[in-house]
């Protein structure tokens, strides 16, 4: 299919975008970074203003892209496809923040590790045929073979390892990708199609503020990558990792984090259980954070987990007076959430 020309007004960058390709996809593949988050139409961070030309809004949900916004020529870069040549401008500021971005690429790899690490949770390691450079905290998409369905998982390995990607997958009952694949037919040696990297979450450059990382369940995956990267590169003066689960069966990689804690005096690992008494911290992970810190002023935080946990953590950190601009969030947007919100399910199950 021939491409349409898409031009970014202020940056003057021009790319070619096929009629069946999203504008975001076209730019990221061309190594032009645009603000974005979930790439599923739910977060709204990739909004563009179409100054000239016509787009198809695709599966953009009305709760992310309102009718008023459509009338004003706004669209979601991750959902919109071009119907003509375009002149567009991102709504969010695109500034050079000093972070090196890596282009979106299509890759192939084979499964080299497949192990159960916690309740309903598997570690999948894929050896790629080519390198996929990424930043700590970013994610990739894996194709469920034969289904045309792509699923998003954060890399858990540090970005220094570009050929071998580690993912943590939690089972969703009845899920096409989990019950139907990773927890069923997937086997060592299987070939997997991968595209990435995507996302803006993570730690990529030195920061002055101590950081609190709060993870729920497999929200630990990007945190593991970030902890390994930040400690190796000395990016953060003080690093606190909180991992929440219901019982000990939900926790994993504890030995690794305890070893890191012993090696790095500025790293603190705090697993928390909400439904089991033990010699560690007990309660919701957010309540433990609330008790541990009298004030979070001057600190930053990275949150990854189910939406309810991320929201609760945001409130706790605000209560402890952390500046909201220093709170970075990555929510799971799984198929069930999208369905509940009434979103189209073209890419979900």
């Amino acid at each position: 299919m021939t491409g349409h020309t898409v031009r970014l007004q202020t940056l003057g960058k021009v790319t070619s975008c096929r009629g069946d390709q999203s504008l975001l996809d076209a730019y990221l593949r061309d190594n032009v970074w645009l603000p974005h988050g979930c790439t599923q139409g739910t977060c709204g961070s990739c909004k563009l203003r179409v100054l000239d030309g016509e787009v198809d809004h695709g599966n953009a949900p009305a709760f992310t892209l309102t009718p008023e916004e459509r009338e004003q020529g706004i669209t979601l870069a991750c959902q919109a496809t071009p119907r003509s040549d375009l002149l567009v401008e991102p709504l969010a500021e695109v500034s050079d923040d000093g972070v090196v971005r890596h282009p979106l690429r299509d890759l192939t790899g084979s499964v080299v590790v497949l192990e159960d690490i916690a309740r309903d949770t598997r570690r999948v390691v894929i050896e790629l045929t080519e390198a996929m450079p990424f930043n700590a905290g970013q994610y990739a998409e894996l194709e469920v073979p034969g289904s045309g369905v792509w699923r998003q998982y954060s890399m858990a390995n540090p970005p220094s390892e570009t050929h071998r990607l580690e993912f943590h997958v939690r089972r969703t009952p009845g899920g096409i990708a989990t019950d139907g694949w990773v927890f069923a037919s997937l086997a060592i040696g299987d070939t997997v199609d991968v595209r990435g990297p995507l996302g803006v979450f993570g730690i990529s450059r030195p920061q002055e503020e101590p950081a609190i990382l709060i993870a729920g369940g497999t929200g630990l995956a990007p945190m593991k990558s970030m902890v390994l990267h930040a400690l190796a590169e000395r990016l953060v003066p003080e690093l606190y990792l909180y991992h929440g689960g219901r019982t000990e069966a939900d926790l994993y990689d504890g030995d690794l984090f305890r070893a890191l804690e012993a090696e790095h005096p500025n790293f603190h690992y705090r697993p928390c259980l909400s439904e089991q008494q033990w010699d560690g911290a007990t309660g919701m992970v957010t309540d433990v954070v609330l008790e541990d810190f009298e004030s979070c002023k001057g600190m930053s935080a990275y949150l990854c987990g189910p939406p309810a946990m991320v929201e609760a953590a945001g409130k706790v950190l605000k209560r402890r007076r952390m500046a909201p601009r220093l709170v970075f969030k990555e929510e799971f947007t799984d198929a069930a959430d999208l369905a509940a919100a009434g979103a189209p399910l073209a890419t979900a199950s």
Binding site: K318, P324, R325
Partner: protein, 407 residues
Amino acid sequence: MTAVTETPAWIAEITMAELEKDPYPFYERLRKEAPVAFVPALGLHIASTRAACQEIGSQSDIWDGVISPAGGRTFGHPAVLNVNGPEHDELRGMVDPALQPSEVDRYVDRLVRPIAKRYVEAFENDGHADLVAQFCEPVSVRALGDLMGLQSVSSDKLREWFHKLNVSFTNAAVDENGEFANPDGFIPGDEARAEIRAVLDPLLDKWTVEPDDSALSHWLHDGMPEGQTRDREKIYPTVFVFLLGAMQEPGHAMASTIAGLWTRPDQFERVVDDPKLIRRAITESLRWTSPIWSAVARVNKVDTTVAGTFLPAGSVVMLSYGSANHDANAYDAPSDYDLDRAPVPHMAFGAGKHGCAGIYFASEVCRIGLEELFESIPNLERDETKEIDFWGWGFRGPVELHANWEV
């Protein structure tokens, strides 16, 4: 004036005190029944709809800027609001350069951010504050005061001056003969003016021989032949305009933005979480409670008719921006604060040649102030035990704004 005899009772009987407490019900009826009406209590006409204010504000060939009688009595002549043609061009040429957006961008962050930080630091560990007195007003006066060159004047003194000038400026009531109904109402303004001159004269003396980059130094020197300075009698009325409106209104706007957001806790939380929304929150606040509610007037040079009302040449018409911004023809549910409403432009900064010179500066002061407040105290909450009372007809904003937070 014949108009008086034709005035319906509900217009004839309105009082200043009623308007200052809550002008909205009266203006809502005006918009419906008498978009341009003579109001005896004020001795002038009021334009209350968006269409009428826009028409009058934008037609500079028919309408000149004029100051209300009470405003003229407070500021003296020639204030920038009250002159037209070349005289107005000269005064705008004097005040505009430091307020151009490109110029404001050059200095505003390093001017305002340290001021806002300092005022937040003074109370952030108290767990409670009246944000009007402890933050919005001091940040507003300190930012403009420092820009003007008034570093030596305390924030409390600047606040006292604008409060006193405000009392006089809005002392608009007239009796049946058109004379001021409350002459004593001008005493506070007269006191403030005398004190301002006593403080500013030595500064102007200094800047006459030692010009610096302060705005008032530029007002003395810019556009004057070498070796000459602008007559300070030409400067003072506009200094008073600044020391009232420009000092007070960014504070009103900041306080009204917080008060508006507190009517929508979900929207308040979104703005605190995402500081990029602060600009939009301020814009909606300026529409919701326009700080310069009813303080700008025009006079027609020729006979004309607006919204069906015939106005013989020389009719003074008060443009009620606070009312125009609640016009149901332009805004759905106009009395609700709503961050997400369709962004129909508001009229809070006026229009035409006499449009506000400080649009960008004032908006940036508010933005930076609120950024610092929400960054430092993201757990700010309304003190539910205290009422939020708005006051003012000429200028309007919350009188006090009590907040609590966990320290």
